[in-house]
Symmetry: C2
Subunit: 249 residues, 2 copies
Amino acid sequence: MKILKTPTEVQSVLSGRENNKIGFVPTMGAFHEGHLSLIRMSLRDNDITVVSIYVNPTQFNDKDDLAKYPNTIDEDIKKLKDLDVDYLFLPEYRDLYPDDFNYKIVETELSKELCGASRPGHFTGVLTVVMKLFNIVKPNRAYFGEKDYQQLMLIKGMADAFFMDIEIIAGMTIREEDGLAMSSRNLLLTPEERKKASVFPDLLRSKLSDEEVIRLLQENGFKVDYIEQKFGRRFGAVYLGQVRLIDNV
Amino acid sequence: MKILKTPTEVQSVLSGRENNKIGFVPTMGAFHEGHLSLIRMSLRDNDITVVSIYVNPTQFNDKDDLAKYPNTIDEDIKKLKDLDVDYLFLPEYRDLYPDDFNYKIVETELSKELCGASRPGHFTGVLTVVMKLFNIVKPNRAYFGEKDYQQLMLIKGMADAFFMDIEIIAGMTIREEDGLAMSSRNLLLTPEERKKASVFPDLLRSKLSDEEVIRLLQENGFKVDYIEQKFGRRFGAVYLGQVRLIDNV
């Protein structure tokens, strides 16, 4: 596996590979089985797989959340090598944002709902960095997990709105044995919080009304951001201590 | 010359032409010598030249201005045929904006100054439509006139910020014999206004201070939006009757 640090390096190793199918998995690292399942899909379906690890500051509306975001880069690199990924792109802020975030992609409808309502600017940061990464890597296919379903819908919407010639492929949410959706943020839960966390997907999947789910979550010590139905799914975001968990079923 | 109406048509005629250099001149029609000079540059330097004519509603902050924008489509098509342009792209709103303008490119510094200060949202509309057109046509080079210098800077900035693999090429401002910068909006001037209009470039080019230029323009019946120095140039925007004129020297 070759590690690439700058957009120029990526462009130079991939130029002339137009006849190869390129699969791309953009991540913020701290890999769990959800990431690895997307990477395996890419390896299976493309000639070249590029994974990026970049904890994108412009999508964190909360500086503390950014500071605490888990970093397991050495283990991540080992996992990518074991999977035989072709390229890891590890950019830095100054390389991805030569404009210092003066140019942004803003979506004005869906990005204001659900997670967008409580995380102002979050999806602007996500869409902006994804557009940059797409234009650098120029993949044929890009892979995103359904756990971040709203993000997936917004990235599909952006690709359509801007006529980007990239197939956006969704990977199923991967869950722990107790049903908790895998997430890098799960690493931040205390052992007691982790034990309690599976109440969240259990209630989300239940036949109970949104109001009953909210009441039961609160009784169990969760702080509820939202429980809401959309796209024929039930979405939820909760806090357990300082840790924000999201899911959809 | 082939006329293409939809993004899909453009993509299908240009696919497989990756070994040809594609030059692209996006316009709002009502051609004058400024447009034609850009098109000649593209024809000279590329294998294929695509011109688009699209009066982009999202960049008009003033509905009246949009309604009055000159339309000379039959003459425009004749001129393109005479020049032997390869493709004319004539899209409609529903084709370019499947998202109904939910996804936008927003710039937060330069776009707020000069023309951006008095035309809120103008450059968001410009950048958004240019990004869409770039992604549809996938040109190697794209041509813009220096008359719209701020627009040119913003498009270059967007191309850099989003790692777009397109060379942005500037064409010199083309002027009438009396020095007035050619502009589609000049067609909207009354004969008396047209006669007086050359006072604007004359004063802009003079050694007089910005304040003196403003005073003399006002004395001559111009309404002044701004006269301002930036990028080692003097920029100006004025109204003559209902018509907005811009220039830079």
